[in-house]
Subunit: 390 residues, 2 copies
């Protein structure tokens, strides 16, 4: 019986959903499957397990004691304690130090009382882990030394093994012990967003090289995204097997695509990622900014929870996504620069727009902006909890 | 009888629609009103007047010989002849030299055979014209020396008079003579987009200061936008009275707003601009990028033609906008980096999606990107003309 990644051959099983019978009991307890043998402690004796948290209940569209809250980029530059521990540590290095990852991931949980932690990492971490020559340049973003433009360039993309990211397994082990009943959300970039960095060679606002490949050489494009789907799935599996209670797949830049192009050229790869981790039974969240036209398709790709940016009212988003999914969102992050009364009024607009959803996780419509006052975030968590207490 | 701006007191008439009876005959001929007296040459004797162009017919939702085409930013850095004439001339200065504006505006008409010219200018030109201390920094964009953050800062915004932009009147006089039957589209930035530059002090991707004012001090915000509406209306009036056959109001950054905020905090000012130029009878086009959720509201603001970015299929855009408007769009500008066959295939997707519209003007879903091959644009114009010839 497989107990973890230690006894797996590198790269094995990335193309198929993890078989449920192969999951260890710790994973089973976090997942909706519940205990399977007398050796498993029944949930009744673990009243404060992540499984029973408001966050995971909302993901499963079950009744909640209050609307759960977390913030994209809650662990990051908005917090003085983050800036302090990151001093002199380059971004990618900070993602590879388990104690530092643990500390940074815990900071917003301690400070704001959010309902979930999000694993501190960067979208390009799994690419770095398989040996892609890239760095995150301050003030610029990820820069790739040898952009992928031809079929030969695909050779840079080998499979990701658990050994490539042993620091992730270690950090999540530390984190789940510290977090107790607070769920930890695993994290990966989606194939399109990773491809956009790899093809452009760095951040872009227009993705002209990536789209030129997508339109001009659809087979090469499909092969690139398929490989990235395998790498992403392997990276999420490591996080789930180490103890993540949910995963969020960030397709940060998918909003740059027309629906017809998303469906044809992106959805198959994202669907492969979701399918690969379906067997674990942990909720799968999918988010991208500016994706109003893609919400239905992003749900169709296999998400249990669809994240919504602030441009689409939650009730309209639910209409586009259809039944059977929870929604996450969607306060405009810039609202936090306004006075408290304005923040509260806009928060009530979001809650009102979300009041008939099957499941609602309150979040911002995009990441916390670095110059946000952390106290405004703490007040926001309290406000949502108070206003939604049942 | 008013023959132009020469006999108007500065700033007069900016708050009310120009009375139709006050329009001179040249304006009448361009507008849908047609001739009004024996002194006006009947249209039958002017078979090649802009009024009869495919572009203006499509704006008016009349039958067209072919789908008209023009490109946002068609006059600009994609053209070697543009880069040549701009050599050593700062951006704002280039907007104030009538001969240079004329040459730059004509270049894409000569080269691509587009169905309309767009007046070469910049969104901040009317702000510069009323004395705002700003400059366009290469590689950065408009930078405002003293951002508007308080009520006292509003004093920077005096009314715009025709004398402030005499170079516009002169350039449009030159242009309409050169253009003959090709219509000239006038151009202005919408109040929200102007406000975002003025409040931020420069380009922004998040508009946190502008939105903080919008959410936190709605009265100051409304007053700021109202003043900008007057300035914008005055600037468009100058262009129409000088000979522009249509106007496009660019709300470039409106897509950063949720619909509820657009309706409450932006639409009234944009509507004031459209209302102020309604009496001229020239088609009024409205465009912003990422505005899928706002299309209906942008039509409601008073546009005759709504521009659509590439994220929303044209038939879905038409559904959101409702009847009685022409639509403009919407090929993804990055498609032009793909091989010709791919460009043609994507172009047919757009034409197919637009086939049941009341009126369709083919355009890109955003501006031409500077690195676009100009020959790809020329081929695209030919392709649309050929495929849609009736």
């Amino acid at each position: 019986m497989r107990e973890g990644y230690g006894d797996r051959s590198p790269g094995a099983g990335l193309d198929t959903p993890a078989p449920v019978q192969g999951l260890n009991s710790a994973v089973r307890r976090r997942a909706k499957l519940g205990p399977v043998s007398a050796n498993d402690a029944p949930r009744a004796q673990q009243p404060s397990a992540p499984y029973d948290s408001a966050f995971l209940k909302a993901c499963r569209r079950e009744p909640v004691p209050h609307t759960p809250v977390w913030f994209m980029r809650q662990a990051g530059r908005s917090l003085p304690e983050y800036r302090k521990v990151r001093e002199g540590v380059p971004m990618l290095e900070s993602c590879m130090r388990p104690e530092l990852v643990t500390e940074i991931t815990l900071q917003p949980v301690r400070r704001h009382g959010v309902d979930a932690a999000i694993y501190f990492s960067d979208i390009v971490v799994p690419l770095k882990a398989i040996g892609i020559d890239l760095d995150i340049k301050p003030g610029v973003g990820p820069v790739v030394e040898h952009p992928i433009r031809t079929r030969a360039d695909l050779a840079q993309l080998r499979d990701l093994t658990p050994e490539d990211v042993s620091y992730v397994t270690e950090a999540i082990g530390l984190l789940t012990r510290e977090l107790g009943s607070t769920p930890l959300i695993g994290f990966a970039g989606a194939p399109f967003t990773l491809a956009s960095y790899l093809v452009e060679g760095g951040p872009s606002r227009t993705y002209e090289n990536a789209k030129a490949m997508m339109y001009g050489d659809p087979e090469l494009w499909a092969d690139l995204l398929d490989r990235l789907a395998d790498i992403t799935a392997a990276f999420l599996k490591v996080q789930i097997e180490a103890g993540a209670s949910a995963v969020q797949l960030f397709d940060s830049w998918a909003g740059a695509l027309a629906p017809v192009d998303y469906r044809r050229s992106v959805l198959p790869a994202s669907a492969k990622v979701f399918e690969a981790v379906a067997g674990y039974g942990v909720p799968r969240i999918h988010f991208g900014v500016g994706t109003g036209e893609l919400l239905g398709l992003m749900g169709e790709a296999g998400a249990d929870v669809v994240g919504v940016d602030w441009r689409v009212p939650m009730d309209e988003a639910a209409r586009r996504i259809g039944p059977g999914k929870a929604l996450q969102g969607n306060l405009d992050p810039t609202v936090l620069f306004a006075p408290t009364e304005a923040v509260e009024a806009k928060t009530l607009e979001v809650l009102d727009s979300a009041k008939d959803l099957e499941g609602h996780i309150f979040n911002l419509g995009h990441g916390v902006m670095p110059s946000t006052d952390p106290d405004a975030l703490t007040r926001l968590v309290e406000h949502v909890h108070t206003r939604t207490a049942r």
